[in-house]
Each structure stands twice: as C-alpha cells, then as structure tokens.
C-alpha cells in the first residue's frame, strides 16, 4: 500500500547519518560570511567631503548630517563642516549609501552583532563610526562601479584646492 | 492588432493611437467593452491615475492565444461615478473594489462594492493626491471593530 516507498524514504534518511552535522556553533564560533556580505557601516572621517548625497538616497531616513568641529576632525577638504551620523535602529543594510559616496569613504564591514541594551546606544555619531573603521574589522576595498577607476585607498590625496 | 474595426463600428466616438483607444464620453463604455469581449478574454489590469480634478482610467485587456493587448482610456471628473464592467468580465470584480478602496470611485451596478485592502471603518481614500495624514488616522487602532 505504500510500505515499499516509505521504507525507501526511510532508507534515504538513514543514509544521511554518514554526513557530518550541519550545525553552526554560534556564538562560540563565528558564522560563515561571504566576501560581499553587507554588515555594519564604517566611515573614514578625514576623507569625507560633506556632500550630503548619502542622506538624500537613504530609503529608510537613517542618515542625518551633524556639524563637526573642523579642528577635531582633521578634514582634508570639507566646506560645510558636516559628516553623516547613522541610526542603526532604522538602517536596513541595503548598501545604496556605500555605492553613491563619491570619495568612497563609507564602507561595509563584516560585523553583524551590534545589539545593545538601550535603544539610544544604536545611534552612532561620526566619531564612533571612525573608531569602527580603525578597529580589527578591516573594511573591504571592493572594485568601484567603473572598471577604469582604481579601488580607493584609505588615505588618498583629495581636495587639492 | 488592427484597430480599424473599432473605427468602422464607433465612428468618431473613439480616437485611436497605436493600440490605445480614447473614449470621448464615458457613457459609451459598456457598448465598447461588449464589442471588445468578442476578441479578448480577460481584463488584465485597471490603472487609475489622479490628475486633479480628473481621474483617468486605463483598462488593459488581453487574450490567451497570442500576445495582443488593447488599452482603453476614459476620463471622468472627481465627483462622478461610472458603470461597472464586472457583468462582462468577471475578473474585474476585485480590481474595481481596489479602485474604490484607494481612490473613492463608485462603480454603478457592482455586485459587492466594499473595501478590500483597508479595514471597513478607515477614514479617507489614501491614493488621492490631496490626502493628508490627520490625527484620527495616526491614532486609529481598530480595537472597536466587531468580528
């Protein structure tokens, strides 16, 4: 009545015992991520030019521009004296701000565990984003959209006027 | 598809431009749609565009044996109502209910015209261009709806 096929199906399941287990031992070991995975954002503060394009294109309204003291930040060329602040409670990790940034100073890292106890801790101002950039989660330098442009180094000479 | 037969049948009540038919008067809609139903099987989409103070309705029909489509355009004003075509094409029932829900257009002789995507006592019609989010909408919770 269905006994022979069911026994065949059980045979396939028992044949799975020879494979190794597929469990990820998170949080003892890190999760496997690919090269292009979109994690937390990081900012190279010296190269930011304050153009506000990342604020205009964000679909979730998570980026706001904050006024920064020019002496503390050591900007190379920033006319308005502004830099982006990211609210990770609203960010959807879509990657549009990283693509549009003209001097290529916003990057994705591979850090995926940023949960805290208070919601206000998730608002990262530009100095905290700069600290993420200098930490051990080094950002990747993926090729930019044009094949001819070279991938930007962290400290190019920009704004030569 | 050759639209010459429409021009022969209806004269100057229609204006033809590639495969888009524009009707001059909304009262001819049922007669034109009944003529369309001899050649096409099903209503594919109904698109309503609000250009204040008028609504522009686009009906797109298609059929199963090849890939021809035809588009019919009608213009009505903000405060009028229009005849329903759900007696001719059965797939138009839910499309017209959605147009009533989002824009507030009333279709005459529809078998069951009520809201479909939003709850029954929601105030306003959201897709109109003069829709404003009021305090009543911000605090709407739906806790006094009876099931």
């Amino acid at each position: 009545m269905g006994i022979k096929e069911t026994l065949k199906g059980i045979g396939y399941s028992i044949g799975n015992l020879k494979n190794k287990p597929a469990t990820y031992l998170y949080p003892d070991k890190p999760l496997p991520v690919q090269e292009k995975s979109r994690g937390m954002l990081s900012l190279d503060l010296e190269g930011c030019i304050g153009c506000e394009l990342c604020q205009k294109i964000c679909p979730a309204d998570a980026i706001t521009m904050m006024k920064i003291d020019q002496n503390k930040a050591h900007f190379k060329a920033n006319a308005r004296g502004e830099a982006p602040a990211v609210d990770f409670a609203k960010c959807i990790f879509c990657g549009l701000c990283v693509d549009i940034c003209p001097p290529n100073v916003l990057h994705h890292t591979h850090k995926y565990d940023i949960s805290t106890n208070r919601k206000d801790d998730l608002f990262y101002d530009p100095f905290r984003l700069n600290e993420v950039y200098n930490e051990e989660y080094k950002p990747l330098n993926l090729k930019s959209r044009n094949e001819e442009e070279k991938p930007s180094e962290p400290s190019t000479e920009q704004g030569k006027n | 598809m050759d639209l010459e037969r429409f021009r022969e049948r209806f004269g100057d009540k229609v204006k033809i431009d590639k495969n888009i038919l524009t009707l001059a008067d909304k009262k001819d809609l049922i007669r034109v749609v009944k003529f369309v139903s001899k050649y096409f099987d099903v209503l594919y989409m109904l698109i309503v565009v609000h250009r204040p103070p008028k609504f522009e309705l686009n009906y797109i029909f298609s059929r199963y044996q090849d890939q021809e489509i035809i588009q019919i355009k009608v213009e009505i004003s903000d405060k009028e109502n229009i005849a329903s075509i759900s007696n001719v094409f059965k797939s138009a029932e839910w499309e017209e209910r959605e147009a009533y829900d989002m824009f507030g257009i009333v279709f005459r002789d529809h078998p069951d015209l009520r809201r479909i995507l939003l709850p029954e006592d929601w105030p306003g019609h959201p897709m109109r261009k003069d829709f404003v989010v009021t305090e009543e909408i911000k605090h709407w919770t739906g806790l006094d709806l009876k099931f």
Binding site: S13, I57, C94 | L43, I47, I60, Y64, I116, P126
Partner: protein, 363 residues
C-alpha cells in the same frame, strides 16, 4: 440540519501567509466561502510616489520574498523602457541566469510547504537543504540572502565572481539527482500521496479563462502559454527548452508541472552558463535622473504567473503612478469557486497546490 461557518483565520500555520477563509460547511462538504485579504498591506504604491527611482529597489525586494530577484528585474526593465536605453549582452545573460536560479528556489519552497501541509515534515527539511546551496551562490554574487539588491538601471551592480562555472555546475548536478531520485519516494511516486491529491480541486479551462489565472496553475489545466516562448525578452529565443503541460487540472497535475519546470530550468542554466559572453556588465546611468512624461508597460514570467508593471511619469525625479500586477491576486479571487464540493480535510491540499504568496497579493 444547518450549515456552520468555519473560520480559517489569518493566523494559521497552513495558509501560506495571512489569508482569511470563511467556509460554509455542511456535514463534511464545503458549500462555498468568502476570502478576505489585506492583513499584510504595506502601501507600496504610495511609497513609490515619494522615493527617488533608485531608492525604491529595497521595497521591490520585499514584494514576493521567496524569489526577490525576479521582481527587481521587472522594475529595472520598466525603468529602462521609459528611459529608452539598451543593456549590453552580458547583462542580459546574467539576468536570465539569476531569474532561473530564483525560479528553482521558489519551486523548492513550494515542494516543502506542500509536503508539510499533508503532514510530511521530512520533505520540508530536504527541500530547504537544497535551497541553502543555491542561497549561498546568491550571497556570493550579490551580498544578501533574502534581499539581494543586485540590479541597477542599465545592468547589474557587480560582475559575476571569478570561477562562477565551477561554483554552480556541481550544485546543479546534485539538485538534479535529488529531484529525480530522493523526492520520488516520498512525493510523486508514493501511493499515499497520489491518493490524497488525485482528483482533488479540479480547475477547469473555463474557470481559468474567466478569472485570468496564469502561470503553472494554468498550464496544469491544458492551456499551453508561456511568456518566455510567445513574447521572448532578453535571450530566451536563443535557448532551447520545453513547456510542461498537463491535462487533468487537479492538485497532482499542479505538482507535476512544477517538478518538470525545475528540470527545464536546470537545462536553461547549463546552456546559459556555457554561452556567457565577455564585455561590459552595465550601461552606466546617473544616480538621480529625470524621466520625461511618458507611460511604460512591461510584463514578464514570474514563478507564479505573469507579473506586470505600469509606470506613469511627469518629468520629475519621482514616479507619478506605479501600478503592480501580481499573479496571485487573481488566483485568490478564484478560490471560492474551486473549493465547492470538496471535503474539509482537502481544503488545505487545494490552498497549498495553488501556491499564493500574501506579500504580493496585498502589496
């Protein structure tokens, strides 16, 4: 005695999302019913009027969340038709490859969910295990699993990674072996499964033509129509594949059509990967652009039927009106007529074999 009204409510593990079905039942037969939708309405069409063209891509991903790249390809195509630009040949092949990968993933979820509704949880875990291999490939290409965000106007964002053939061909071999051998014993050649699905929920040709149902549900009732064959877009007219058609119109035929579509998609993928040309992968456009006043209409074959988009612009940087046609909307409209005369225990078989996804019905 009377009939009772059975409410299969929106929160239910077997309704494929949030669908409410009010069935009128007498003794063990269903006499008819009412369908209520709108529990997942997220106002996508109103948001499209307030975002720039390129900022709307994350919303399009979340319409049909099991096969997101198909709808991204459709939205990028409608913007390219309104602008009047062409895309390079390599981009066309990449889009065909991604569309077929997502079609296989969507049909694997269908097999798993269908088996689980009948009580067979083993098939669900097997189908998700195969889907993980394909999901790893999508993550290597684009960076995201459920929301890839890979398409841009004029092509794609990055190129395919190096060594792409050696990544995907072993996965296709393993998938073919599993679908042809392992799944047979617990689904389509199992006599218990056949008893529960043959003759249940018959969908006649007249009902299909009355309600405008398209996709695999239409092909299981005998109508042979596929947009990839009759109105070919991208490079489908140079690839060699068949269209599976069945005659019976019951749940077993709808299951078999989707199994054969997986086999045909594997054939298409093998040909496309071998014929991939070299060159540019994008025809670069500015990030914030304006479109002159026009109308554009594009339709393509999504895994559940024919999807379409209609765009009206007025010369600004945002859309004036965007209308999305989803194929599951018309399938759910026809549900009260299909369940007449069935037994109560067969209701879930019928709903699972029609395969609605509530994310695209409610938008």
């Amino acid at each position: 005695m009377g009939e009772i009204e059975l409410n299969i409510g929106p929160v239910h593990p077997a309704t494929h999302g949030v669908l409410r079905l009010k069935a009128r039942v007498e003794k063990d037969t269903v006499l008819g019913g009412d369908v209520e939708i709108g529990y997942l309405h997220r106002a996508m069409e109103k948001i499209a009027e307030q975002r720039l063209f390129n900022s709307f891509f994350p919303n399009v991903d979340k319409l049909e969340y099991v096969s997101a790249l198909n709808w991204e390809i459709l939205y990028a195509s409608v913007l390219e038709k309104a602008l009047g630009i062409d895309i390079p040949p390599r981009a066309k092949y990449i889009r065909v490859i991604l569309a077929e990968i997502q079609r296989i993933m969507s049909h694997l979820i269908f097999i798993g969910a269908f088996g689980q509704d009948l009580g067979n949880i083993t098939v669900f875990t097997w189908a998700l295990r195969e889907r993980e291999l394909l999901m790893d490939i999508v993550e290597k290409i684009s960076g995201g699993r459920l929301a890839p965000m890979y398409l841009r106007v004029g092509g794609t964002e990055y190129d395919l990674p190096e060594g792409f053939d050696s990544m995907i061909l072993p996965v296709l071999d393993r998938l073919e072996e599993k679908v042809n051998k392992d799944y047979k014993a617990v689904t389509y050649e199992n006599s218990l499964f056949k008893m529960r699905t043959k003759g249940v929920g018959v969908l006649t040709r007249d009902t299909v033509k009355k309600y405008g149902i398209t996709g695999p549900n239409m092909r299981a009732s005998g109508i042979e129509r596929d947009l990839r064959r009759s109105e070919p877009y991208f490079v489908y007219d140079s690839l060699d594949f068949d269209i599976p058609v069945e005659d019976a119109g019951d749940s077993y035929a709808r299951f078999m059509v989707r199994i054969r579509e997986i086999q045909e998609s594997i054939k298409i993928l093998r040909q496309a990967v071998r014929a991939l040309p070299k060159g540019n992968y994008i025809n670069k456009q500015p990030w914030m652009f304006k479109i002159p006043p026009t109308e554009a209409f594009v339709r393509q074959e999504c895994p559940r039927g024919e999807g379409a988009m209609f765009l009206v612009t007025d010369g600004g940087m945002k859309a004036y009106r965007l209308k999305i046609r989803s194929p599951s909307f018309y399938t759910v409209q026809a549900m009260p007529e299909i369940i007449k005369g069935a037994r109560v225990a067969d209701l879930f078989t019928i709903i699972a074999s029609l395969d609605p996804v509530m994310g695209e019905v409610d938008r």
